[in-house]
Symmetry: C2
Subunit: 325 residues, 2 copies
């Protein structure tokens, strides 16, 4: 029996960093996915392979070491934690070995929610394999728990989008409202290796907030208003407004201190090549920018691709899917 | 008789654009000056020469044409308007020809207040020549009138600083408070040819303000707070804070839509070369950036100078001076 599961990544369109301070955010699931295949083994080993990254890991499920094993590296932590959390849910299930093959279509650590996509795909595949009968909302919630346990802190946005797909507006009362976006929303990602991790960047913003509260609070207020206006523009399909609001949001992120020379260069390259708007997406400090350039996709892709990795993404209405062969 | 007058240019440290909406600003006079020499002629011609720019102009003061004369070009408009306004003040003075030689130590149209410096120097020299006995505050006020007449709109900051020198904080009630800054305040200017003029850039911001008032108003509030905190940092000589506040102010200007690819590149080049802070100074859309880099002046100068014109400036406590030989 071969079980496959595929879960989409995401991009944050508006509101990153401010969302940490209770402000709203808009994010969409994208057509870059994490695909996972599991196959039963005859022994008790858990073996994982990530395609294209030359990453292989192995451990014995009957005797998981507490330290120094191969599933402690990077994204594999999420795979093992997902397996453990499913085990907790299904205490009667016997431990069996599994071969896991991962194919992750997006760069890892680029603000595209690769860890959430891998987690949701892993949980969904294991849910089928162990016949745990978990509903989607349980998968979404468990995936959030996995992210919390691995990272210490997490946003439910990523795991929600990897589970359900579509576009969501996370309101100030922390409700995720599904936005019915009726068009493809073509976006370009420009990606550069990251200098800092998300926690460090959140710390940078917090330091600035604590040092200059009077100056930084109105920046969060502006991001809140930008995000609210962007919600309307997204629903109405007002491309020009969406672009302008991205540009405003980018300047505000720059003011928070999370841009870098490379990100800043890409932002302006994209605009010069015809993008209606461009901004950092996610935590910044390296990582990714998004550019919105309906009708000018090729020009922007070409310009950004000259120096950095650049690729196109689209909104994915589809959430996690599973398949049993 | 040879009369010379020298008046300093200025840079805006904090608050540009927001100042148009009643917010405070900080600006300082700088050690780049406009020097003007006048010499009486035997005929009734007004002749001007700008050193280093190969600009020469001539007209007959007894028969000034209403259109199409050589003093309608660029900065010479301020020279002629200054002469006219002094004539109005001193109706009894006979019309005599003059040779005017200008030496302007700063790039024109770079946000360094070259027009105000030229105007204040011209008025001060003519004041001596015609023995008009105008006091400094009258010079400052007349210079503001000249700028208003030539440009249609003007800020009194430039003419105030060219007249008095020093550092000023323009408060929300439009009072110019002199800030006693006790150190040199070394700054680096990175200058790039301008794409738009000040009026166009003010229009760009106004358009954004009218389209997204809820998003843009808090940006002005943040700039106000940044400027107020910078006033304290400037008085205390807190270099690190000054730099950080410049960086915040720059992101906010970027959010207002007045940065360009080149300005943005220079901003980050300066920071990478060791500047504590860097930001657009003045209207943006090309023009100048300032970088604050005590102890790293050479590194930043060298880095910026690779691709653009870059030079060092310092605070000038001295305002306009005149000399009669």
């Amino acid at each position: 029996m071969l079980i496959t599961a595929s879960a989409p990544g995401k991009v944050i369109l508006f509101g990153e960093h401010a969302v940490v301070y209770g402000k709203p955010a808009i994010a969409v699931a994208v057509n870059k996915k994490a695909h996972l295949t599991i196959k039963e083994r005859q022994d008790s080993k858990l073996k994982a392979h990530i395609k294209g990254l030359d990453i292989n890991a192995s451990l014995d499920l009957e005797n998981i070491p507490t330290i120094n094993h191969e599933f402690q590296r990077g994204i594999l932590k999420y795979v093992l934690k997902s397996w453990e959390i499913i085990q907790e849910k299904q205490k009667t299930v016997p431990v069996k070995g599994l071969d896991i093959i991962l194919n992750i279509e997006m760069p890892i650590g680029a603000g595209l929610g690769s860890s959430a996509a891998v987690t949701v795909a892993t949980l969904s595949a294991l849910n089928k394999y162990y016949k745990a009968d978990l509903e989607r909302d349980e998968i979404a919630n468990l995936a959030y728990q996995v992210e919390l346990k691995v990272q210490g802190a997490a946003s439910p946005i990523d795991t929600t989008l990897s589970t359900y797909g579509g576009a969501i507006y996370l309101s100030t009362n922390r409700k995720a409202e599904k936005l019915p976006v009726k068009y493809e929303l073509p976006l370009i990602i420009g990606h550069t290796p990251r200098e800092g991790n998300t926690e460090e960047l959140i710390r940078i913003v917090r330091k600035r907030m604590e040092k200059y509260p009077n100056s930084i609070k109105p920046i969060f207020e502006s991001i809140e208003q930008v995000t609210m206006e962007a919600r309307e523009a997204l629903l109405e399909g007002d491309h020009e407004k969406l672009g302008e609001l991205m540009n405003i949001n980018h300047g505000l992120l720059d003011a928070l201190g999370v841009s870098t020379p490379t990100l800043s260069r890409m932002i302006y390259q994209a605009r010069e090549a015809g993008a209606l708007g461009s901004k950092i997406t996610g935590a910044g400090g390296g990582g990714s920018i998004i550019a919105y350039s309906p009708g000018k996709t090729d020009e922007v892709l070409q310009e950004l691709g000259k120096l950095e990795k650049a690729f196109q993404i689209k909104l994915s209405e589809e959430g996690v899917t599973t398949n049993i062969q």
